[in-house]
Symmetry: C2
Subunit: 489 residues, 2 copies
Amino acid sequence: MRAFEELMAFERQTQALGQIAGRLGWDQETMMPRGSAEQRGEEMAAIEAVLHARRSDPRVGEWLEQAATEGAVEEAHVREIRRAYERARKVPEALASRLARVTSEAQGKWASARADEDWEAFAPVLEEVVALKREEGAALAEGGDIYDAMLQDYEPGTTAAEISAIFDAMRPRLVALRAAILDQPEPKGIVGTFPAGKQMKLTRQLARAFGYDMARGRVDKAVHPFSSGSGMDVRITTRTNEQDPFNCLYSTIHEVGHAAYEQNIDPAYLLTPLGRGVSMGVHESQSRIYENQIGRSAAFTGYLYEQMTAIFGSISVENAREFYSAVNCVRRGYIRTEADEVQYNLHIMLRFDLERALMAGDLQVGDLETAWNDRFEADFGYRVDMPSNGVLQDVHWSVGLFGYFPTYSLGNVYAGCLHQAMCAALPDLDAQLAQGVTETATGWLRVNLQRHGGLYAPREIIETASGIAPSEGPLLDYLEAKFTDLYNL
Amino acid sequence: MRAFEELMAFERQTQALGQIAGRLGWDQETMMPRGSAEQRGEEMAAIEAVLHARRSDPRVGEWLEQAATEGAVEEAHVREIRRAYERARKVPEALASRLARVTSEAQGKWASARADEDWEAFAPVLEEVVALKREEGAALAEGGDIYDAMLQDYEPGTTAAEISAIFDAMRPRLVALRAAILDQPEPKGIVGTFPAGKQMKLTRQLARAFGYDMARGRVDKAVHPFSSGSGMDVRITTRTNEQDPFNCLYSTIHEVGHAAYEQNIDPAYLLTPLGRGVSMGVHESQSRIYENQIGRSAAFTGYLYEQMTAIFGSISVENAREFYSAVNCVRRGYIRTEADEVQYNLHIMLRFDLERALMAGDLQVGDLETAWNDRFEADFGYRVDMPSNGVLQDVHWSVGLFGYFPTYSLGNVYAGCLHQAMCAALPDLDAQLAQGVTETATGWLRVNLQRHGGLYAPREIIETASGIAPSEGPLLDYLEAKFTDLYNL
């Protein structure tokens, strides 16, 4: 056998084991009995240990040295395997297992600190996490920038400088747009009776309409919406709030964006490094364009308005235009996950700047809460009232995710580029969406982006699909046009 | 670290990975989308390969050589690890993976052959399975008896001669009892409306009443009832038939017997070789005593009669005695899984004799259907009418389970011994069961047997718990007394 083939056979098993670990995570959030957590912790640790050992197996290094590749696909395989191998080899096992232990503990402390509104109870363990992540970052960076090294875990090929340039261009235009909107009267919200069962029925109907293949997936309820798995088994979750059906419906459309990306990758890449979405940012571009540019468009909300009044009866808005306004309402708030399209990126920029400062050693955990609250006030105009609305609102840092937040906004930026190209390519788009037909849009994404999986690097696939280098321009143009119309600015 | 501790740390991870493989199996039967089977096949193969490599890892051999043990628990750990290690080392990897491939194919062919009533379509692949299993048996036996070597996978320490001696003593008494019963008029069955939702509610209530801990388990529907997992995550499945509620209720009680055994093992043995039921026979003794000696007793069925009439209204039997007769009805039939307490073991003896002959080379697969039908007629008095009622009814042989069938009857024999001792120890037993209180009985089993997990060998734990060496006497005495009363013999 060629070294390349031996490498791929080994890698295929590793990918299969990775899918199993992911399915265990799904089970934990949906099906696992509440008394099983401790045993599950050991099971997860066992399979993670197997995965780490395989990723850093010296035979992989030998095969990589000997592997002769033919063509772009084989080269991409080797590129991705090498990246995972080098990453696994750079981080000493003792550090990796200490990080796993401390972040597991920190996540528990974060949850109770958030419930108790007690930042001081969380700060000491976050300090440990930050110290360990800096140590890991230094090992990964090998003398280069720590934060740039961390970004490679989520958005390979990007740098903090690139992201900064984009964010610096976005911030003033978003702050100005937000201020103009909040000067206007708040649109009417929907009010009605939204039984959970009916929401779930509609949400499954929307999932299918957006191209989610239920024969290779399923929709369950969980505390947090997520998508899990690749290839032939990609499952999503949602949740219902009987006062607010948009929570269920739009989180489903969002997760369907992630899930459809995984389902639509060329089956030839199944259980290979190319058989998964190429980066967190590109992944998020799919969930965002499904949720926002398509799902929150005037055309599609017109269709959704008809569906909702048919299912739920009166919902206290009088017509499709009022419904469109309600779906896109911009409100004062503190919480990233509840933010609208305009404010969302401001939440991300705040986290990006703070986490870079933490990793650079320019900001200490002891000063983090104050830094958060000051920055929030500067961008949003009012002060954080309690830690769960501020520095304790997100789980990410407790589990060691530094470098992850900016990929959410990169996803929005990518979605803006893709949407611009899609609109140019599909003159009938709005007419189709107004009928509830999303296949034209999702089909365009499938053909131009999703099917390629990990074949092209993130910037490359966005550029190939949208015809322009990733830039904040299209997103900002879209937001300004949409909200100028919505709010008569 | 002592060699023993290194061995145990490695083994603990292996056990955790084994639990993961089991949970994947559960997912496959309950939750997996129908389009995911092919990918799941690769995932299962990947984790099985990891497990096989770990069980036969040369380091395990070195640790076993060096491990100094202290006390009975450490000795039992080493005994169980050594057994798994030697088994894994004896079977060449090429044979193991060929067996996995051929049995996977054979299971598919069996299912379609059974649906088509086409024995000839299945025979050739069964021939392959038999040849491979004989090869595996020869590798395991190292010159000894092939079938005895196979039995060790399911009932360590037993031999075909021992089982034969028990079965030879059972057969004439069971044949005579069966004949006497079938000379009597058939008792009335229950008739009524049994909605699936109400069956599931009652089945969950019964599961809890029999000591199943729902905080560390769950009940779902599946095509076949089964129990899956050990320790803190033990899940069961059931199924509903709206004409026949006993199918759901008694399969649940049966699976709760398996599940409670796994849940009640000393937590100190969690994720060790002692943290699981010690053998298939001892496992079956628990499911059978829950289902039959307790669940089908006059006392408990009196309680169940009240519950069922309260839930389902009229069920066409007039009183608890008629209900007890309906629950224990002995009917002519062909199918092992539908057989009553009297006839069940005759089905097993048939399979035991045929599979021993196959493994010894005394019977060819080409002659198997005729041999089955002749033996069936000799024991049951009428001829098999179609293959799905005969040689094609069970999945076991297609997946290479030779040596497994006799453990079902061993379980019944063990249950007889345990029940005799339990009745002697608990004079109030019937009074409690008549109130629906099963804790007295299940508590006795927990303390005397279940908590020990794999600490004692199968015969040893039955002897310790019941005070007598395993023997068919108590089971036959119990069956003769029960059915003499039920049928006025």
